[in-house]
C-alpha cells in the first residue's frame, strides 16, 4: 500500500525526495542519539579502560573486564543478589496475589464488591512516597504480629506484594474469559481452586505477561522501600547501593559504572523480551486512566 498524505496528521510519510529523506534520517539519528546515547555511553565506559571520572566515553577505547572484577571486591554482586531475591520472590507474590484478587473481582458477585474496587483504586491514588515514614514504623514493629521486618528480605518483598495496577489489569482481562468454560468445569465437579488453576489461569497468559513485566520494572525500580528497610549494607539492593558506592572514596569511577550498568541491564532485558506486553499494558493503562 502506498503511503497516503491523509494517513497522518502532518502527512510527512508522503514526502519523498532526497531532502525529505535526509531530514527524516537526521531526525531518527537525533532521537536515537539523545535517548539511547547516554545508555550506550554507559555500556562502552563500563567496559572501557579510561578511568577519568569527568568524561564519559561515547566511543569504546579498549575492552576490559577489570571494572567488573573490581566490583566483586566492593560487594556489588552481593547487592545484585539481594536485588534478584527481592524481585524474584516479590514478583511471584505480586502475581499470585493479583490473580487471586482479580478472580474474585471479575468472576464472582458478592456484597461489598464496590467497596473492594474503591479500596483498590484508593491504593493507586496514594503515592507510595508519602507513606514512607509511617511505613518504616510499621515495618519496625508490625501491629498485632510483633514482628520486625527491618533488615530482612521480607520487609522489601511484602510491601510490593499487592499492587492495584496489576490487580485491575488482571480483573479487566478475566472479565473477558467466557463464563461457559467455568460452568462446564464446575458441572464436571471441579472445585474452586481447580477451576481457577486449570481453566481461568491458562486463558489469562497474555495478561500474565503484562503484569509480569510491569511488576518486574516496578519492583526493580523500588528505591525508598529498600532505603528504609535496609539499615545494614548487607541488605542493600543494587539501586540504593549505587549512592553509597559513589561516596566511598576507595571506589573508582570504573566500579561505579559497572555497578550502574548492572543495575539497569535487567530492566532493559525485561523490556526488550516483553516489549509487546509492555506496550499493550502502557496504552491500555493510559487510555483507561
Amino acid at each position: 500500500m502506498t503511503p497516503h498524505r491523509f494517513d497522518s496528521a502532518l502527512g510527512l510519510e508522503a514526502r519523498r525526495g532526497p531532502v525529505a529523506t535526509v531530514l527524516k534520517l537526521l531526525l531518527y539519528a537525533g532521537m536515537i542519539l539523545v535517548f539511547a546515547g547516554p545508555l550506550w555511553g554507559l555500556l562502552v565506559s563500563a567496559f572501557g579502560q579510561t578511568l577519568d571520572p569527568t568524561s564519559f566515553a561515547l566511543w569504546p577505547d579498549g575492552f576490559t573486564l577489570e571494572n567488573f572484577a573490581q566490583a566483586g571486591d566492593k560487594n556489588v554482586y552481593g547487592y545484585l543478589f539481594n536485588s534478584f531475591v527481592v524481585v524474584g520472590f516479590g514478583l511471584l507474590l505480586q502475581m499470585l496475589v493479583s490473580v487471586f484478587a482479580a478472580y474474585a473481582l471479575a468472576r464472582k458477585k458478592f456484597r461489598g464488591m464496590t467497596v473492594v474496587m474503591l479500596i483498590m483504586l484508593a491504593t493507586m491514588m496514594l503515592p507510595e512516597e508519602i507513606i514512607a515514614i509511617p511505613l518504616s514504623l510499621v515495618l519496625a514493629d508490625m501491629p498485632l504480629l510483633d514482628v520486625r521486618l527491618i533488615d530482612t528480605y521480607a520487609g522489601m518483598i511484602l510491601p510490593v506484594g499487592a499492587w492495584g495496577f496489576s490487580i485491575l489489569v488482571m480483573t479487566e482481562f478475566m472479565k473477558e474469559v467466557p463464563v461457559e468454560l467455568e460452568e462446564a468445569a464446575r458441572i464436571d465437579g471441579a472445585g474452586e481452586l481447580r477451576t481457577f488453576f486449570t481453566i481461568i489461569l491458562p486463558l489469562c497468559r497474555p495478561a500474565l505477561g503484562v503484569i509480569g513485566v510491569f511488576g518486574f520494572t516496578m519492583i526493580w525500580d523500588q528505591y525508598l522501600l529498600p532505603l528504609i528497610v535496609a539499615n545494614d549494607p548487607g541488605y542493600y539492593t543494587l539501586p540504593i547501593a549505587l549512592r553509597s558506592l559513589r561516596s566511598d572514596e576507595e571506589v573508582g569511577i570504573g566500579v561505579l559504572l559497572a555497578a550502574t550498568l548492572l543495575a539497569l541491564l535487567p530492566s532493559i532485558i525485561a523490556f526488550l523480551a516483553f516489549q509487546r506486553q509492555f506496550m499493550r499494558g502502557l496504552t491500555s493503562g493510559a487510555v483507561k486512566g
Partner: protein, 307 residues
C-alpha cells in the same frame, strides 16, 4: 445451561445444599484476603498512622503530645518548607510541559514515517524503562561541571561556555528538570502515537477538500482529538513531578544550599535525620492533598469539556 444447574441443585439434599451455600459467600473473600491484608498493613495502617502523627509532636520515649494544627502551621510558615513546595511545583510544571510538548512534536514527526521503524521506537523508549537510580548516576556524570564533562564538551562545540549544572544554585533545579524531561518525553510520545491512531482519517481528507492548510488541520482536527490523552498525561506527569524523590536524592540531595530541595527530600530528612516525625507527616498530608485535588480538578475539567 441454567436448567442443568437448577436440576443439579435439586438433586442435592437440603442439608448439603445449605452447606454449599454457606460456604459460597466466603469464597471471594478468601481469594481477596492476601491483597486486602497486604494493603491493610502496608498502605492503610501507614496512611492512618501518618494522619495521626501529623497532629502530634512525636517523641519516641516521652510519648506523643497532641499539638493540634501546630505541625501544619509550621510547614506553612517554615522557609525551608515553603521553598521546597515551590521547587516541587516548578519541577512538576516544567517537567510536565516539557515532556508533553516534546512528546507531541516527536509523535507528530514520526507518525506514519517511523511507526514501523522498530529500532527507532525501541531505542527512544529505553529511558522510560531503565531504573531511575541508575539513570540519575549517568546524568550526574554527564553533567560534570568541568570542561571535560560530556554535556559541557557537547555545548563546547556550539561555543557555549562550560556550565556548572548541578553544582550551582542557579541551575541545579533546571538540570534535574532536564533529566526528568528526557525520561518523560518518550513515554508521552508513545501515548500520543497510540492516540493518533484513533483520529478519523476521513476528517483529514475532508479538511483538504475544504482547502485547509496542514497547520489548520492540526489545530482543528488532530489536537482536539488528542485532548483526552493530553489530560491524562498531564495529570500523571504533574503528580509524578510533585512526589519526585529519587531523582533529586541521587543527583543533588537538595543542594547546593537547598536550591533543589523538593518536598519529598525535605520530608525524608525531617523524618529520618532530624526525627521531626510529626512535621514530616503533616508535609506528607499536604502533598497527598495536593495530588488528590489535582486529580479531581482534572477529572472535573474533563467532564465539563466532554459535556
Amino acid at each position: 445451561m441454567s436448567m442443568t444447574l437448577v436440576r443439579e441443585e435439586k438433586r442435592l439434599s437440603p442439608h448439603r445444599r445449605q452447606a454449599r451455600r454457606r460456604g459460597r459467600w466466603l469464597v471471594p473473600w478468601l481469594f481477596l484476603a492476601p491483597a486486602l491484608i497486604l494493603f491493610l498493613y502496608f498502605k492503610f495502617i501507614p496512611m492512618f498512622e501518618n494522619l495521626r502523627m501529623s497532629f502530634f509532636k512525636v517523641q519516641t520515649f516521652l510519648g506523643d503530645e497532641f499539638v493540634g494544627l501546630d505541625n501544619y502551621r509550621r510547614i506553612m510558615t517554615d522557609d525551608a518548607f515553603v521553598s521546597a513546595m515551590w521547587h516541587s511545583v516548578v519541577l512538576a510544571v516544567g517537567t510536565t510541559v516539557g515532556s508533553l510538548v516534546l512528546g507531541l512534536v516527536l509523535a507528530l514527526l514520526i507518525e506514519g514515517t517511523a511507526r514501523h521503524l522498530w529500532f527507532v521506537r525501541t531505542a527512544a523508549f529505553l529511558p522510560v524503562v531503565v531504573t531511575m537510580a541508575a539513570v540519575a548516576e549517568i546524568w550526574r556524570i554527564m553533567y560534570h561541571p568541568a570542561e571535560s564533562g560530556l554535556i559541557n564538551s557537547i555545548i563546547g562545540f556550539l561555543t557555549i561556555d562550560p556550565q556548572p549544572f548541578l553544582s550551582s544554585e542557579d541551575s541545579s533545579l533546571l538540570s534535574i528538570m532536564g533529566m526528568m524531561i528526557w525520561r518523560g518525553t518518550p513515554y508521552d510520545m508513545m501515548i500520543f502515537l497510540a492516540g493518533l491512531v484513533g483520529v478519523d482519517r476521513t476528517l483529514y481528507e475532508a479538511a483538504a477538500v475544504d482547502g485547509a492548510s496542514t497547520w489548520q488541520r492540526l489545530w482543528h482536527i488532530t489536537l482536539p482529538a488528542l485532548r483526552p490523552v493530553f489530560w491524562i498525561l498531564a495529570t500523571l506527569a504533574a503528580i509524578r513531578g510533585l512526589r519526585v524523590f529519587v531523582e533529586v536524592y541521587v543527583l543533588t540531595n537538595g543542594g547546593p544550599n537547598g536550591s533543589s530541595e523538593v518536598l519529598m527530600t525535605l520530608i525524608y530528612k525531617m523524618g529520618f535525620q532530624s526525627n521531626e516525625l510529626g512535621v514530616a507527616a503533616a508535609g506528607c498530608i499536604v502533598l497527598f492533598a495536593a495530588t488528590l485535588v489535582l486529580t479531581i480538578m482534572v477529572q472535573l475539567m474533563r467532564r465539563r469539556q466532554a459535556s
